[in-house]
Symmetry: C2
Subunit: 442 residues, 2 copies
């Protein structure tokens, strides 16, 4: 039987048997300074499954990792979950033992008000680093959210809004794998928009193969019936091709987390083999949701005016392809040239040259295209500038979104990285306003 999937409206409440809520409990308070005329947004989200089920997760590999991440890493060993509680405005990072107790208290309070096991409650936080959580507000928020829980799409949206920090809009996606009886759905929400260069693994440990590295958070739900092992395998693959392949500013956060809950309510026979056709389409569909959310994050990157997809080919291996792509994507000089609409291949070649990837100048091709277009305009072939007119190249980079193709012509390693430009607005936003300490970014 052949399966396919299609995009549907909604997010985390699209799959059967999930409810969500987003409420205001005054954690993200902006004080009287810079942001005083802004409306203070929602700041606590709750996503709840109607029954416990397998969970999968990937977490920051930053050695300095936040208390909620430490809590979740323990929960992952049990592999079962029923709820996710998230606050924005305060990262609960670098908060010592108190932070650990507060993360646990978030789970305990959520468990209490929902009548579920606190060990089946995942916790996440995002916002300023190094300040203790205002637990009175948080607990009040949890109680409010529990009352507001509903399966309506609007409640998924409220949850998506409640996890935002510097994001300018909420990020949601859902897909459906239609089946004659019991269609399978996947829904997700995510937030960016600075300190974005995630490198997450299931155990929060770096692999030897990769030394490269937002707070970015993404929470996903699905009603498929699946084993925990395969759920984790599917999420690991999906994140590698999506969230772990984006960068805004090269700063990996202490709080990056992606969590997926599955409640089995679609009623399919439990997927237990990676070779099952249903698993394969589930993998594709999940990757699609993560990829869409990841791209939304980059498009909404702090101060970003351009969305750039780097496509590296011909590296000696996949690791080198990713290292080359990240070196270019994180180069200040390359990012500022995009901001100015300058098709400056010299800076690109320079960044390739200092990357950990092997590069032979005389073999490098560099080209631009419209997003996902095969109509390439080359600026460099075999290390030599082409005769493409400067104006022609400028037209490519003038697009709000474009693809940059780099062929190293050394091997078969390939990688795709999504990134954005570096603008004055990024600097202005992140230099903050010391007259208003509570509004300073984390």
């Amino acid at each position: 039987m052949a399966f396919s999937f299609q995009t549907i409206p909604g997010s985390v409440t699209a799959p059967n048997g999930f409810r969500a809520a987003g409420v205001f409990c005054d954690v993200k308070r902006l004080g009287k300074g810079k942001g005083s005329d802004k409306e203070v947004g929602l700041d606590l989200a709750l996503i709840v499954a109607d029954m416990p089920g397998p969970i999968a997760g990937l977490y920051t590999t930053n050695q300095v990792c936040a208390a909620p991440v430490k809590w979740c890493l323990k929960r992952m060993k049990e592999g079962v979950g029923q709820a996710i509680v998230v606050n924005s405005g305060n990262a609960n990072a670098c908060t010592g033992d108190r932070g650990l107790r507060d993360a646990e208290a978030m789970a305990t309070e959520t468990g209490r008000v929902l009548g579920i096991n606190p060990r089946q409650v995942l916790v996440a936080s995002t916002g300023r680093i190094g300040m203790p959580l205002p637990m009175t507000n948080i607990k009040k928020g949890i109680r409010l959210a529990a009352k507001a829980l509903a399966a309506a799409a609007a409640q998924g949206k409220a949850a998506a809004e409640a996890i935002m920090t510097s994001d300018t809009h909420s990020k949601e996606r859902a897909v459906e794998i239609p089946r004659p009886r019991g269609s399978i759905r996947i829904g997700g929400i995510a937030k960016g928009a600075g300190m974005i260069d995630p490198y997450m693994t299931p155990d929060g440990k770096r692999s030897r193969e990769r030394e490269i590295q937002a707070t970015m958070l993404s929470f996903l739900t699905t009603d498929i019936a699946i084993s925990q092992g395969l759920l984790q395998q599917a999420l690991t693959t999906a994140v590698e091709r999506s969230f772990n392949s984006i960068t805004v500013d090269g700063d990996m956060s202490t709080n990056d987390s992606v969590i997926l809950m599955a409640n089995g309510r679609a009623g399919n026979s439990i997927v237990r083999s990676a070779r099952a056709p249903l698993f394969q389409v589930f993998q594709e569909a999940l990757t699609h949701v993560c990829s869409d959310l990841a791209k939304m994050m980059v498009r909404d990157g702090e101060g970003a005016s351009k969305f750039v997809t780097l496509r590296v080919f011909g590296a000696r291996n996949t690791y080198e392809a990713m290292a080359a792509a990240r070196s270019v994507a994180n180069s200040l000089l390359v990012k500022t040239s995009w901001c100015g609409g300058d098709p400056n291949w010299g800076r690109i070649l320079d960044a390739l040259g200092y990357s950990p990837a092997t590069v032979a100048e005389e073999k490098v091709d560099i080209a631009y295209s419209a997003p996902e277009s095969k109509k390439l305009v080359y600026s460099l072939k075999q290390g030599c500038p082409t005769k493409a007119a400067f104006e022609r190249l400028c037209a490519e980079v003038a697009r709000e979104a474009f693809d940059l193709h780099i062929h190293l012509n050394l091997g078969k390693g390939a990688a795709v990285v999504h990134t954005c430009d570096l603008t004055e607005a990024y600097v202005d936003f992140n230099k903050g306003d010391i007259s208003n300490p509570v509004a300073l970014g984390g």
Copy 2:
């Protein structure tokens, strides 16, 4: 006999037997765009010894390295030199075979007009990447410079001005080791001010121990009589503690070069042992000159408004100390927080956590001080925020220059890195002006 050294006026012409010149030959032309109302500056420098002598050099480890660097690496194998010719405005990088021929032609023309062996002429270039050198202008410049050569301090200054690109002022330093007969002098010039994260080695190859990575150029002269091996040893040590310990924007250039010529005119008996007291003071004096020039580069970094000295202690080893320092120094979020005067230790701890260095959050101390002061104000001790008032910490970061002390408390590894903040001015400068392609930065 005990030696010491002192700063004296002047630069590359301060040592006996060196002449210099800086001329205009229209390489750095700014066209009719953005820079049209700026005075077009000098763009070709020549530094000449009255006799051949040992040379030492360190060059970029960028795999994409400019034609003049390739020329110099060959000359280093011979170890003897008598002149350095340098142009600004065009990097002669990524210019293929023509670039190699042009670099050689610069040496040949210099040799011809000076009546010296072209293989004893070192060549350097800085400016835009990927454009062929205007050789007619360059050759004219070499002839003009040869006529202008003089030992006056003003000519050293002219050379320092001729190597500038985005620098706002020239960079010069000279020192003297007084001796009863025949004092020894060292003089130097340098340029920054973007694409600055040098990691140079004598052979342009990276060591395995370090995978970290402007155009920065520095040219040094000395009249000491010394063996080539010791001259290189002294320069390698000096560069490791100076130019290789700075970063402006994390972008390592294709052209970074430091070259030192020694003509033996001080009349000392040739230094042949690293244990000789004279060598030791020479080493100190040379390190002092390089260190002063490196700091001038950072202070004049593109758009920089703050000069920050990072002092990392207690890393597991020297490599990890340097890796930790560079991760903080190159973090966009840390750099932008300095721009805003925000003593944000959370971003610092975050950048430490994703660095290749081992970091234990609960052991980290972070403090600020005035430059080189021992009066430290701690913001974090053993991973916990101190009670220092926010205003007190802001006062530390409000200084135009300050020291940031980071103690990892894990071992004995230490490193010092000089860097600057990231400002809107950096972005504005580097985004360039595509209506004026010739003015776009390299």
